[in-house]
């Protein structure tokens, strides 16, 4: 499966409609989302005091938001005291400039990166590459999509859309690899463990040659100035252990007030993300290596990124989206995501939480369709360990979209008036909602959508209304 076009949130509707027709993609998504939901379900079933732990994790995240400015100042002060250089970035461009500056400062030629959505969000790689730096994604899935020059398709499993044959072909083409036994036909022979080992070898060299390691942050602890990184592969440990310089980039909401709050989050995050009691590796990093230590970065940086988030704190409903710790569970539970996958959303963040974050962080004109690509079934809300009420936020966003675009009312009115079937179908469910028909027309794509709907589903007939039938029946009975 090769992705050729570029995806944008602006084309969300077209992209999702198209994704539905890709049978291979649907099969892969079905398999992957069931796999994750299954593992998670088993883990949560066995999780003693689950709801209490969920509530504590939520409280830890809420506490962070409730004291966000103070905690960020404390984080800055304590991380600095521990020897980390702290930087603030108002937007993506500033963040890129800060990291590029650090890279220039240490004369970096090779950069290794741990999986991080926030570096995707700020489009860091092209900025570093423009400076002539080799940038390597080191998470296996990210490495594969990097070689393929594609965006990641899932928070937890960035390359679920690639088969082993796809990966083998990539390794042969892009890395010149011929397999462990030196065979030419890597595509036919390669097993998944073999491909993994090939990637391990290729990336080992990069880790050892790297001048700079860049990672995201799962939790930053204000109390101690530490950053906590959670992973399974060991690539993040490698990125913070081998290169002399480490830059951690955090979106500003990822702070926790105390080590206790961080521990409450760690109890829940791995279980919700992958069904593990703990991820293979959790690193708590505080400042650079101390004198006498033989490894670990000698120089550590922390970049605190805003990129639109601080504005959200003033909205009591929408700021719930900032609680998210990116476990990915709501994606896997979402019937729409299960059907269209991550790429269709056209931005770094996909699925229910991605719809919310993209709508909040990207320009409004590009994200109008996003909050409508949702049936409001509530599977996400039910799944989220932090109790985020995605449907409620989705409705709030719809309200924002509609408030921003008056007009067109009469066009729809005309359309519906001229198409009794449309009127029955659409308005049969809502005929008295909106006597002036202000609403429907603002929603794009209705005429063609209606055609497809009727194509696949027999619409009910318009019948003699219930009220009249009941009146008649009662009259008859009364008369009898």
């Amino acid at each position: 499966m090769v992705l050729t076009s570029t995806f944008t949130p602006r084309n969300f509707r077209e992209q999702s409609e198209k994704a539905c027709h890709d049978a291979t993609l649907r099969a892969v998504l079905d398999h992957a989302t069931r796999y994750f939901m299954g593992k998670r379900g088993v883990a949560l079933e066995a999780f003693a005091d689950r709801d209490t732990h969920f509530a504590r994790a939520r409280a830890a995240r809420l506490t962070a938001l409730s004291r966000l400015p103070d905690l960020l100042e404390q984080l800055e002060q304590r991380a600095t005291a521990a020897g980390t250089k702290v930087h603030w970035a108002h937007d993506a461009a500033q963040a890129r400039e800060i990291v590029a500056g650090i890279a220039r400062g240490c004369g970096a030629k090779v950069v290794v990166k741990g999986k991080s959505m926030v570096t995707e969000e700020i489009a860091l790689n092209p900025a570093l590459e423009a400076d002539g730096i080799e940038v390597w994604e080191t998470d296996l899935g990210e490495f594969i999509v990097q070689l393929a020059e594609e965006p990641p398709s899932h928070i937890i499993a960035p390359c679920i859309h690639k088969s082993r044959a796809d990966v083998a072909a990539l390794f042969r083409e892009k890395l010149g690899l011929a397999g462990l036994s030196g065979q030419e036909d890597l595509e036919d022979s390669a097993s998944i463990p073999e491909l993994t080992l090939l990637a391990r070898r290729a990336l080992r060299e990069k880790f050892l040659a790297a001048d700079l390691g860049v990672t995201g942050v799962n939790i930053a602890v204000a109390e101690t100035g530490s950053v906590i990184l959670v992973e399974n592969e060991g690539n993040i440990r490698m990125s913070t252990t081998c290169p002399p310089v480490h830059v951690a980039i955090m979106s500003l909401e990822k702070v926790a007030a105390s080590l206790e709050d961080a521990a409450d989050i760690l109890r829940v995050l791995p279980r919700s993300a992958t069904g593990q009691k703990m991820s293979s590796y959790v690193s708590v990093l505080t400042g650079p290596r101390r004198s006498g230590e033989l490894d670990g970065a000698r120089e550590t940086h922390l970049v605190i990124l805003d990129n639109g988030r601080s504005e959200i704190l003033a909205d009591a409903v929408l700021r719930e989206a900032l609680l998210c710790f990116r476990c990915g569970a709501c994606l896997n539970s979402c019937p729409v995501y299960q059907t269209i996958g991550g790429h269709a959303y056209g931005s770094v963040y996909s699925g229910p939480i991605g719809t919310l974050l993209s709508s909040l962080l990207l320009p409004a004109k590009d994200t109008r369709d996003l909050p409508f690509g949702c049936t409001l079934c509530g599977a996400c809300k039910k799944t989220c360990p932090l109790g985020i009420d995605h449907p409620k936020l989705m409705l709030r966003l719809r309200e924002r979209v509609c408030a921003g675009s008056p007009g067109l009312a009469s066009a729809a009115h005309t359309f519906l008036a001229l198409h009794p079937l449309a009127y029955r179908l659409v308005m049969g469910a809502a005929r008295a909602v909106d006597p002036h028909l202000n609403l429907l027309p603002r929603l794009p794509g209705l005429p063609s959508g209606l055609a497809s709907f009727v194509d696949s589903r027999q619409p009910p007939e318009l019948k003699k209304p219930f009220t009249a039938q009941l009146r008649n029946a009662r009259k008859k009975r009364g008369g009898a």
Partner: protein, 224 residues
């Protein structure tokens, strides 16, 4: 300075936001009490780790521990090892691994070619099967990361119930610092739970993608 402006701007916006829509956090339910560490702790640890293909071997004496480590080296076909200097004196691991060449863990480059990395856990969390490794002067981080096999010695005194023990563990290893009330935490603490793993290709689980593919634990079941 662009980023100084950024700092002020961000903090101002956040403060204005909280002033517009104050946020109070309802008190959460109390953290459930941790299970006590009882006589079955080793068995529980082994049970949690079994699905991760981690074997826990118990030793009653230093000599037994040495035998276990030697067995592991043989089973893994190891020729070389590196270890933390930080080990209780009673444990003569160099003697146990006398047939192998010992490599000093002075940098990642050398460790990349070593077969076994040997460490000594500061704690082990029974609930999740996590080893707690605190990095330091005689405890380089890469010993548990670069070699394909990681062997970890876990003293009985290190057994702890769950991740709620983490804050205390970190504070216990902190250095006093005038500007840091909780002290200056160690530069790195790792929770290690099973081998390095990935399922990125077709969701097929593979052990040992970047870190060790094998993790062996030797429990030191006496008072150290």
């Amino acid at each position: 300075m662009m980023s100084v402006d950024a700092r002020q701007r961000i903090l101002d916006t956040l403060r204005a936001g909280l002033a517009t829509a104050p946020l109070t956090v309802p008190a959460p339910p109390a953290r459930p009490a941790s299970l006590p560490v009882g006589p079955d702790a080793w068995a529980l640890l082994a049970e949690v780790l079994a699905p991760l293909d981690v074997r826990v071997r118990l030793a009653k004496t230093p000599a037994e521990a040495a035998n276990h480590v030697a067995d592991i080296a043989r089973e893994r076909g190891a020729q070389s090892y590196a270890r933390w200097e930080h080990m209780p004196p009673a444990l003569d691991m160099d003697d146990a691994l006398a047939g192998l060449s010992r490599v000093l863990p002075d940098c990642c480059q050398t460790l990349a070619h070593v077969d076994i990395g040997l460490t000594f856990a500061q704690a082990a969390l029974i609930d999740s099967g996590s080893l707690v490794l605190v990095a330091g002067r005689e405890r380089p981080r890469a010993v548990s990361l670069l070699p394909p096999t990681h062997v970890c010695l876990v003293p009985r005194s290190a057994l702890a119930p769950d991740v709620s023990a983490l804050p205390e563990l970190l504070r216990a290893h902190a250095d006093a610092s005038p500007s840091l009330p909780a002290g200056k935490l160690p530069s790195c603490l790792n929770l290690v739970t099973g081998p390095s793993s990935t399922a990125d290709i077709e969701l097929v689980l593979v052990r040992g993608v970047h870190g060790p593919g094998a993790l062996d634990i030797v429990g030191l079941d006496w008072d150290i």
